[in-house]
Symmetry: C2
DNA sequence: ATATCTGCAAATCATTTGCGAAACC
DNA sequence: GGTTTCGCAAATGATTTGCAGATAT
């Protein structure tokens, strides 16, 4: 009988369990990425995932991160998002249906759920003769009046300034 | 007095008029792109715009098409869209607020309007402490039961198959 | 064992840009 | 006429991939 206590080290991360359920071969680097994803509450892009992974164990290359997120997306474990700014961001699918509000000034991303939108979307699709397969909804907003910024459209297009979100 | 009749040749296209209103210097290639955009009812990407432009007058390069759509987007004359599949697609802004439903099997894009979504979005943003600046909404759907396709998630990710829309 | 995965560096794809020549106001 | 735009080809940035060696089942 295995007497080991469930230390940080040997307990499979949430995402790793999903990988195993999907029958993926678990290599060291996949386990590492799964762990980084499990511990992330935000929507990191590949560069950021790579940075976080390397910090824990540098025996991984960015090519593997790219290959792995692609694989996990195909398995439905991750969802790829595009919040503008060139790079794809990743969102674990097991957090349930939710949408995003992006602060156009800071780039910060806020999640929210709203079943009414989905119902509405389903109805519209039906009216057009379609069954709803997926729904992409993103709100871009500006924090209410407090040191407002002059730039407007410009700010959003080149979202290269306020980059990372956190939760 | 000018007695010329308003032939195809000398009447400024809808988009060209917008360019002039925005004080843009109208070169031959900008006029050409404006005309192609005015005559397009779909959501072409840059390659496609270039193809259509070259067909009318080949004294234009794809670099200029890139530069021009970027300029028109900055002026608010065009809106950049991302329907998946790697390339940006362009949508004249003077068509009024509308959203898109993408047929996941064919890649065809259908436009629709629905003020309820916007109202709902505005309310949600307000609840989170934000003023709504923009709203991105895309539905992905499948035509109702008739020769259904087996593939599911896969079909949408690699949207490289069913490419052009026509709407 | 052996099919699968990884690292590296080169390849690809969409898009941008530097530069001298050409076009617009 | 001077400034802006254009075409070309080379640069860029994100992502993919071929290949030889390493690894999981």
């Amino acid at each position: 009988m295995d007497k080991r206590a469930p230390t940080d080290r040997d307990s499979a991360s949430r995402i790793e369990r999903l990988c195993i359920q999907h029958g993926l071969k678990m290599t060291g680097q996949r386990r590492l990425i799964a762990r980084v994803l499990s511990e992330s509450a935000d929507h990191p892009d590949v560069e950021e995932l790579y940075r976080r992974a390397v910090a824990l164990d540098d025996r991984i290359s960015i090519a593997t991160v790219y290959r792995t997120v692609r694989l996990l997306e195909e398995k439905g474990i991750l969802e790829r998002r595009d919040f503008g700014g060139g790079r794809a961001r990743y969102d674990p699918a097991d957090r349930g249906h939710h949408y995003h509000l992006i602060d156009v000034d800071t780039g910060k991303v806020i999640e929210f759920a709203d079943p009414r939108h989905e119902a509405l979307a389903r109805e519209i699709a039906a009216r057009l003769g379609f069954a709803l397969v997926d729904l992409r909804l993103e709100l871009f907003g500006r924090r209410f009046p407090e040191g407002a910024v002059a730039e407007d459209a410009q700010a959003r297009r080149s979202n290269g300034g306020g980059r990372q979100d956190e939760a």
